[in-house]
Symmetry: C2
Subunit: 108 residues, 2 copies
């Protein structure tokens, strides 16, 4: 569970399907997750894979932090390699979280 | 890939971890996905599971449609059963998609 602050904050929803060319993908994904975590405005990241499909959601304080992260040079290279080799398709959605609510069995 | 319209539209991000009590869960999840698809304002749904964790994202035209879906009686019962039996924890985030971009290898 990612502990995000009180809304509003931002979510970047990255959904994708991968090709059969997986060489280097896992290393890049780990590296990008670590690099994202170092950026200003980063709040957390969660990623789930099933077969060739993945949903990765990263959370950010504001739009500016997301644009900054999008344009970090290592990230730009990873995006380019992704289009050339790793992804059949992907969609990135930048969304403003307006409200949220959580349940935790341990609190009951 | 879910074909959503031009932003703005809404995403409901539902992230959860399940308990070991999985009885009835898969049937309920299928039933809720079908029921959601019948609601006004529904744009699509994608769900990925890995181990006991799931991310489900549903897309909607507007907030009103999301509230309507939240309060449909079968859905209210499913939420209650979820808290009592199926989920260790979950977070629901209602987010306004402000921009999006896609890549599809077939378009290259």
């Amino acid at each position: 569970m990612i502990n995000t602050p009180k809304p509003p904050y931002y979510a970047v929803i990255f959904t994708n399907e991968k090709t059969s060319d997986t060489k280097g993908y896992a290393e890049m994904a780990d590296q990008m997750a670590m690099l994202a975590a170092e950026q200003p405005g980063y709040l957390g990241l969660e990623s789930i894979s099933e077969g060739d499909k993945t949903i990765t959601i990263s959370y950010w304080t504001d739009q500016e932090s997301i644009l900054n992260w999008k344009n970090i040079s290592e990230h730009v290279i990873a995006q380019k390699t992704g289009r050339e080799r790793w992804y059949n398709y992907y969609t990135t959605r930048v969304a403003k979280v307006e409200r949220d609510y959580s349940f935790d069995k341990e609190d009951m």
